[in-house]
Assembly symmetry: C2
Homo-oligomer: 153 residues x 2
Amino acid sequence: MEQRISLITLGVDDLTTARAFFESGLGWRRAAVESEEIAFYQCDSIALALFGRRDLAADAGLETPDEAEASKEAGGSPAFQAVTIAWNGRSEAEVDSTFAQAVAAGAQPVKPPQRVYWGGYSAYVRIPGSPHLLEIAFNPGFELDEAGRICLP
Amino acid sequence: MEQRISLITLGVDDLTTARAFFESGLGWRRAAVESEEIAFYQCDSIALALFGRRDLAADAGLETPDEAEASKEAGGSPAFQAVTIAWNGRSEAEVDSTFAQAVAAGAQPVKPPQRVYWGGYSAYVRIPGSPHLLEIAFNPGFELDEAGRICLP
């Protein structure tokens, strides 16, 4: 598994406010991805994404944050952290093999590799020793260059 | 504020286990930073760091995760997310001006710019519309190249 990260996705409560902070406040430029639900910012070799917290939990196949909180109080799964990091591969086959490598290395499978509504192929594992989710994905709309850097439109 | 991210820091419960996952499991190479408390991995233009969850909360000047949980149940501050993203500048003065810009753009000040125990200068703000912390820091041991990419030892 190449040593790199493709995306950091922050689950936010108010996307309009968070977008305004980065765009009007800090002067960052949003990538040309048409979506009302998610905003992407190219940050050199990676992308920062802002996405609704509930949408992010659902994307990982988890309960919503409120359900996760209730489950945690009842001694269930660790609270959803509302942040994911993603490693993107170049094909569905690479997602399959990388997911298998991560699970063999002790990561807990959270969502097995599968086609997803946004047109890609995605899996989630939990990083051992932590509550954090790692997405392993192929997104045909987001090119990777030779060094594996993500290139947003 | 240049459009980039310098570090993603995951707050972990068991650093030994998390390190073993990335290093033995995935074959990643740890940067040559001598520390038992934190591990850094160069990922092209950014660094991934693994750090104890309580240490990370303390670094941001927050309550520990358990205290944050209790405070949240009592209607207090949002739960600590155990992940921070950092934007590194080239000087203490750049940390001061970027912190001021972020606050003027609506970010809640969490820790004003100050000298910190690891030899750098650091501030934290909360990203509007979200529970997430953005660190704004100068680390004299971590060079930034001309494009602002972090270069670990």
